[in-house]
Amino acid sequence: MSYFTTIAGGLKSLVTGLGITARQMRRKPVTLTYPHVKPELSEAYRSLISLVQFEELETHDCIACMQCVKICPSFCIEIDGGRVEGIKRMRASKFEVDFALCSMCGLCIDVCPTDTLEYTKLYDEAGYEREWVYDLLDPFRDFEDEFVERQRVSDAREAAEKAAKRAAAAEAKAATEKEPEVDP
């Protein structure tokens, strides 16, 4: 008797299996036809880093503070920079990242005091060499002179305003100091 129940049970399980695949067959494929359709990446996608272009500055805001260089566990960031003649802000002149070493850990992004580092959404980078060093400042080179010029003007205006204020304050102070002499 168990002979027939075994066969019947086996047949039933086979039919169940066919039913499962039949259900899958009617569903839509989940394939993305990749080169024709680009994948939609999540907000938290981690990839190569790049500098943010701020709207009000019209360029990046790297002040070459070296925080990212210090925190980077793979030692892949190399920055040069310093004072630029005529403006208060420090500016980076070189921001080289060796992406062959970078592990996309994101510590540089977290530590950046001006929030000028961010992840890109690049996912299909490929090359023919082992060398994989990008200067992140390259896309901003053209804006730099203009920015410095603007900054110089605004810094000068700020300084003038400050000087004026200081002069006014000094005058007011002088006036209050003179008062007791007038009083008697």
Binding site: T21, Q24, K28
Partner: protein, 343 residues
């Protein structure tokens, strides 16, 4: 009764040429289509898309693959048994062409009309085993030899339920009496003539799958095993044996094995169509269309099964055949014979 190619062309050589040309055309197109279709079915089941790039929905993918295969170097490994190694693909492929020429695909025209068609088809099916073993033995490769040995054991075992489940049909046809009237024509009916089997089903309007459901099931399972299809694909189990008996073959020699495998699928499902599903019988559409439609539905079922079930272990395979299929088919045959005698 249908006219054969010999009746139409008159000249035997001309009929032979036309027959071989026709069969080869059908088999080639079938292989091209089946490989594409197999990939599509597997993709649908796994919620993928399958080939999409070459041609509309990848229809020309197999053509491109075939061209690539034709351009490949034919490598003959050192230490092979040369005559066996070179003959094996032909030995596997030739019986397929012969078997395909026996099938009655239409009501009016067939390639051949032989009274022992059923026996011949099983005979040509047995031929393939020799070719597979020649390939396995001649390759001088342990995986090829293991695959070939498994294939032999499997094919010989499953030929028994295959034939035993076809015999009830022969009995049913023979029971119609020595003479039978089909469309006003009295013919000496023969249970092993494939054209007669179809004609009787079309005449009575009852397909034998209704009278013999158990036999149909056993026959279909046996066909799966005979064509080395999953879940009975242990002769070429790629996770164990690289590629089984055709491990050492490259280029178009490998292509011929592939060709034979898919042609065997077509012949198997065509035979099942003839025996159980009324062959060319069907309303509205012309006969050959129905014939191929039914055959391809069965092929679809085979692919569906392949992408659903895991491979059997060797002892399970043998237990299933000798413990379940053969006893069941013998009982089915005896019951059929008894009922025919009584009723």
């Amino acid at each position: 009764m249908p006219r054969t190619f010999l009746d139409i062309f008159g000249n035997p050589l001309l009929a032979l040429g036309a027959g071989i040309g026709g069969v080869m055309t059908v088999l080639s197109l079938n292989t091209l289509f089946c490989i594409w279709f197999e990939r599509k079915v597997s993709a649908w089941i796994q919620r993928r898309m399958g080939p999409m790039e070459v041609g509309f929905h990848g229809t020309l993918q197999t053509v491109a693959d075939m061209i690539k295969l034709l351009g490949k170097q034919l490598i003959t490994p050192r230490g092979v048994d040369k005559p066996l190694y070179h003959l094996a693909p032909l030995m596997v492929f030739a019986p397929v062409v012969a078997a395909a020429s026996l099938l009655p695909f239409s009501k009016t025209v067939v390639l051949t009309n032989i009274n022992i068609g059923l026996v011949l088809i099983f005979m040509f099916g047995g031929f393939a085993v020799i070719g597979i073993f020649m390939a396995g033995w001649g390759s001088n490769n342990k995986y090829a030899l293991l695959g070939a040995m498994r294939s032999i054991a499997q094919n010989i075992s499953y030929e028994i339920p295959l034939i035993l489940s076809a015999l009830p049909i022969v009995l049913l046809i023979s029971a119609k009496g020595p003479m039978y009237e089909i469309e006003g024509e009295m013919i000496a009916i023969n249970g092993m003539n494939l054209a007669h089997i179809t004609a009787v089903q079309a005449d009575t309007g009852v397909w034998f799958v209704l009278l013999q459901p158990v036999a149909m099931l056993i026959f279909f399972i046996a066909i799966l095993a005979e064509t080395n299809r999953a879940p009975f694909d242990i002769p070429e189990a790629e996770s164990e044996l690289v590629a089984g008996f055709h491990t050492e073959y490259s280029g178009m020699r490998f292509g011929l094995f592939f060709f034979a495998e898919y042609s065997n699928m077509l012949i198997g499902s065509m035979l099942a169509t003839v025996l159980f599903f009324g062959g060319w019988d069907g309303p509205i559409l012309p006969g050959p269309v129905w014939f191929f439609l039914k055959a391809y539905l069965l092929i679809f079922a085979m692919m569906w099964i392949r992408w659903t079930f895991p491979r059997l272990r060797f002892d399970q395979l043998m237990t299933f055949c000798w413990g379940a299929l053969i006893p069941l088919s013998i009982v089915n045959l005896l019951v059929t014979a008894f009922l025919i005698k009584v009723l």
